[in-house]
Amino acid sequence: MENKILLGHGSGGQMTHDLITDLFVRYFRNDYLGPQTDSSILPVNTRNIAFTTDSFVVDPIFFPGGDIGKLAVAGTVNDLAVSGAKPLYLSCSFIIEEGFPIKDLEKIVQSMADEAAKAGVLITTGDTKVVDKGKCDKVFITTTGVGELQEDQIHISSGNKVKPGDKIIINGSIADHGMAIMAARNELNIQSAITSDCACLNGLIAKALSASSNIKFMRDATRGGLATVLSELSSGKNYGVHVEEDHILIKENVRGICELLGFDPIYVANEGKVVVVVDQEDAAAVVDSMKKHPFGRDAAVIGEISEDHPGKSWLTTEIGGKRLIDKLAGEQLPRIC
């Protein structure tokens, strides 16, 4: 195998075949990938499947706490899991820049394999394209996923059972991913120990779902941060969303960089945080169940659904003032995932 990606690796010919066999299949090995057909044929036993896709162009591709591969798996797994589905199968498409070191690609693929194994999903199909040097930046990845969805979880993605009194829970500190990426970009000359929270949340979510049959809504707080999730939750609804800044955990070093660069942490991207809305009766049980999982140790109730301010989301600030939470306008940080 060459030690650099050449245009030919994306040709669809022998070199492509070799790359797939020698690298992707070697790591992703499973019965469904074996035949290397255009589509993988999957057994679907349930009436409802969740199906999602996401592209990843994060810069830098390796960052503290993860890399573009881990992100590509976790991002799609999480999109399935927050819909209440059990993630099962993923596809992956690579767009690779000519000259990209095979060694780095292998590192990424290995990390995808590791993450997929942890999440209990199989990567069963994929595609590879190589573009001229300078036509894309290193590597871009698209993942698509399918998951199995039980009848009684179908309402979760729309949140149509949410009502005043329900509690809002998040599984830990916010803004870690966005600030880890910012700090990892050399242009700012910042050295920090901030680690991305990038992780597959399906295990954690399964725990929450088993603790309560009254989970009304879930969303992963990625681009646009916690603020965007909360704002979308209330938008156009006859209830309001109210959260307390005091209850939202932000790590000290993350806060420091946010202060330094002028970012409002509630708008900064996460890659391992899920916002859960649950009936107030079950809130404590859900928090307890999340706390038992490594990705939910700092889970907490951060607010509630209220009858006040219908259609809007409000934050009680750390000093007791009140302010509106809106969706992020425009792109806060390009190429964050």
Binding site: G320, R323, D326, A329
Partner: protein, 359 residues
């Protein structure tokens, strides 16, 4: 976090609010001059905590917002010249000019680069000896010393392809002009960072000439509430004065070294402010000694005629005569992702802060 948490302490905030309520009798309107203050006030939800007798108005202290449209037009024209690289702080690139903006020009393929410091711009000049590198210098006494240092470095090194296009401005003339224009306020919350450089002495004429109090504030809630308390007290007792509520940063006399650099490189000139018009001796032009680095005088370019947008009331908002909510365009046509006026572009702009936190 040290230097932050103690200034966001709920208990101290509660006590300060109690003190303010105790002494506040008369209606009072205070203007926060600095965009950083506007942002903090909205972000911490301070207006929701104050008694209704206290009104806070946003002033002209967001450098992006007060940059005149003609300045953007000329920057765009510079960018269209061959072999020219424009370097700028990120905020400026989305500000609409008369017919274009720097980000639209960038998409057209002009070489426009966002930098975090003028030192990055100097670096770009060193690496591109065949090209003219122009740094767009905006901001008040806070960022101007950085620009002065950039020119001094360039001069020392003998860089012959680096230029500053200065829109640097100074605060006190604008603060006086606002009162002359008939803006009805009872005191100024004066900018903490500007005053760290200049020292509080620059405001002495305001209580003397206009009978208005000036209190220099930091950017945390405790700083701002302390400044508000001091201004309310001055107003209630009828004793306007220049005071400091930000003593951990602001010292009498200011930062001598930075002031010496400003003095070395810049001279006062009449300057255009968006919404306020031309204010005498309110801008910083480059002294003839450093003319070699002055983009305006060294690089000839044809600039389109400046056109203002109809309906945008940025001018009145900057003067504190109106709030963003009075604008017909606010939140409808004019939004952060499609700004009409400059006040919606910058994070520190009054319209942007209102849009985000107080709509």
């Amino acid at each position: 976090m040290k230097f932050i948490d103690e200034y966001r302490d709920k208990e101290i905030v509660r006590k300060l609010l109690g003190e303010i309520r105790k002494i506040s009798r008369k209606e009072i309107a205070l203007m926060e001059v600095c965009g950083g203050h506007t942002m903090s006030i909205q972000k911490f939800g301070i207006p929701s905590l104050l008694p209704s007798s206290i009104r806070l108005l946003s002033g002209p202290g967001c450098p992006v917002c007060v940059s005149h449209r003609g300045y953007i037009d000329r920057a765009i024209a510079f960018g269209r010249l061959p072999d020219t690289i424009i370097t700028t702080y990120g905020d400026l690139i989305r500000v609409p000019g008369s017919t274009s903006s720097l980000d639209k020009e960038k998409a057209e393929g002009r070489d426009i680069r966002i930098v975090y410091s003028i030192l990055d711009a100097l670096d770009i000049a060193r690496k591109n000896p065949g090209k003219k590198v122009i740094f767009l210098g905006i901001g008040f006494e806070t960022t101007a010393p950085g620009s002065a240092a950039g020119i001094l470095n360039a001069s020392k090194e003998g860089l012959d392809n680096f230029y500053l296009y200065s829109s640097h401005k100074v605060m006190p003339p604008a603060m006086e002009a606002l009162i002359d224009e008939g803006v009805r306020i009872n005191g100024y919350i004066a900018p903490g960072h500007v005053t760290t450089i200049t020292g509080p002495e620059i405001y002495v004429s305001i209580p003397e000439k206009f009978g208005l109090g000036v209190v220099v504030s930091g950017f945390e809630p405790v700083d701002l509430l302390k400044a508000i308390y001091m201004l309310v007290k001055q107003h209630e007792t009828g004793k306007p004065a220049v005071e400091i509520a930000y003593t951990r940063a602001v010292k009498a006399g200011g930062n001598q070294k930075a002031k010496a650099m400003l003095e070395e490189v810049f001279e006062y000139r009449d300057d255009w402010w968006r919404g306020l018009g031309k204010i005498p001796q309110s801008g910083l032009g480059i002294k003839s000694k450093y003319n070699a680095f002055d983009a305006e005088s060294r690089i000839e370019v044809a600039v389109e005629e400046t056109r203002e947008d109809k309906g945008c009331i940025c001018g009145e908002i900057l003067k504190g005569l109106k709030t963003p909510k009075d604008c017909k365009l606010f939140g409808k046509v004019c939004k952060p992702n499609n700004p009409v006026g400059a006040c919606m572009v910058s994070n520190e702009g009054a319209c942007h802060a209102y849009y985000r936190y107080n709509r």
